[in-house]
């Protein structure tokens, strides 16, 4: 058989494409319930980490035992979850933002006063390992615990992520950026500000006045710079 004729080539290509398409569609169909369950479990784990809980052997059961009610629109903003941890009410809000290479997200847990940060957890799609990806690690996250997202007047101002040694201009509380990962750190800062000051403003209970800009000018954007050169 002449494998180089036009007819053979076209028929061959068509058959290969159909086989591959059917195979992939089938696998995707069969596996999607399991994948969805995994995604849900992963989100629950992330929330538990934001609530400073030990995951233990059965995170799903732990989640069920703590959660009280939720406003969740299938992974879209807003995602508001009310938990009860050691007798105290905690609110967990889902965050979405942009890092250097892709999306970043996370969950912020607030005390009942909707002001004090009880815990926080971040995730990212594709930040640089060893640099931007360090935002998910405990040393960066733990800086947020106990910070306040409101200023003295009670307005939501978020918490800014700043390079060590810099001072927030508007008196917001601040945490240290990951060195060498300026854009990812700025992304975290912008994400918190945009989510808390606009997306969840209604839930948090403060109307944004004209004086409160959400442009993020005070974030001190710098060009990428490696430390220790």
């Amino acid at each position: 058989m002449n494998t180089n004729s036009n007819t053979y080539t076209i028929v061959y290509a068509t058959i290969v494409v159909i086989i591959v398409a059917v195979l992939l569609a089938l696998v995707s169909q069969v596996l999607s319930p399991r994948q969805a369950a995994n995604v849900k479990l992963d989100q629950q784990k992330q929330m538990l980490v934001a609530l400073n809980q030990e995951l233990g052997a059965d995170p799903a059961a732990l989640y069920e035992s703590l959660v009280r009610d939720t406003i969740d629109r299938e992974n879209a903003k807003p995602g508001i979850f009310r938990f009860e941890v050691d007798g105290a009410t905690k609110y967990v809000l889902r965050l979405h933002g942009a890092g250097l290479w892709g999306g970043i997200g996370g969950y912020i847990a607030l005390d009942e006063d909707k002001n004090t940060i009880f815990g926080i957890n971040f995730n990212h799609e594709s930040e640089t390992p060893g640099l931007g990806a360090l935002i998910v690690e405990e040393p960066f996250r733990s800086q947020f615990i106990g910070k306040h997202i409101r200023d003295a007047k009670g307005e939501i101002v978020s918490v800014v992520v700043l390079k060590k040694g810099n001072q927030a201009e508007n008196g917001e509380e601040q945490v240290d950026a990951v060195s060498g990962a300026t854009i990812t750190s700025t992304g975290v800062s912008d994400m918190l500000k945009e989510n808390l000051c606009t997306e969840y403003a209604e839930f948090l209970g403060t109307v944004i006045g004209d004086g409160l800009q959400v442009t993020g000018e005070e974030e001190n954007v710098e060009p990428i710079k490696e430390e220790g050169e």
Binding site: T3, N4, Y8, T9, Y12, A13, V16, V17, V20, L23, L24, V27, S28, L31, R34, Q35, N38, V39, L41, D42, E125, S126, T128, P129, G130, L131, G180, E226, E227, G228, E229
Partner: protein
């Protein structure tokens, strides 16, 4: 147990015919995933599995592939395999899938795959192709691990995420080399490895 030819097929790529330092393939991903040891290891394993499987499949259908679209067919096989593996991982090993997320997609564009499919699997039987895939995958993984070892050690003072440079050194003024975090350093390190490798293998040339 193994004939000389089989041995060469399997073990050659580890040293004298290494895909990265001799054939100079797969450099792009060597830059991207070698900042830390762990992603480098995972990428090495993933590439090994996919090259071996793709080699076998292409070898089995090699006599039916029309010459004019052979590269496209090879690409379709690789892309389908990568997508399959990624879907299966997402369903059964979600944590691993999340760690691999970016790298898994990168495998499709890894030149080692195309190189081996075109140079070996198109003309050899399935078993030899399987060994060739394993050998080249391991050869690739070794270089990745060596590069990542130095980049993580000198750039972050850690190995596999654990700090190995004692705090007392930092107190005494030692600083991590920020340059090691840049992709360019991977290229320079690969260059150093090629240099050392060529010097050691002089007689065989």
């Amino acid at each position: 147990m193994l004939s000389q030819k089989t041995k060469d097929t399997l073990l050659g790529p580890l040293n004298v015919n290494n895909p990265v330092v001799v054939q100079v393939l797969g450099i792009c991903s060597a830059l991207a995933v070698t900042v830390q040891l762990k992603p480098a290891l995972v990428m090495g394993i993933a590439v090994t599995i996919i090259v071996a499987m793709a080699n076998v499949i292409v070898s089995l259908i090699r006599n039916t592939i029309p010459m004019r679209i052979r590269i496209i067919i090879q690409l379709v096989v690789v892309a389908a395999l990568v997508t399959l593996v990624s879907e299966v991982l997402k369903a059964f090993a979600y944590d691993v899938a999340m760690q691999l997320s970016v790298y898994l997609g990168l495998i499709i564009t890894n030149c080692i795959l195309m190189g081996r499919l075109e140079a070996f699997a198109m003309t050899n039987n399935a078993w030899d192709s399987f060994l060739d895939g394993l050998g080249n995958g391991f050869g690739y993984a070794i270089i990745l691990v060596i590069v990542a070892f130095f980049r993580e050690l000198l750039g972050s003072g850690a190995l596999l995420g654990y700090q190995v440079i004692p705090d007392s050194w930092y107190a005494a003024g030692y600083e991590n080399c920020g340059m090691m975090m840049m992709p360019a350093m991977a290229l320079i390190l690969v260059g150093c490895i090629i240099w050392a490798h060529r010097s050691l293998n002089k007689e065989e040339k």
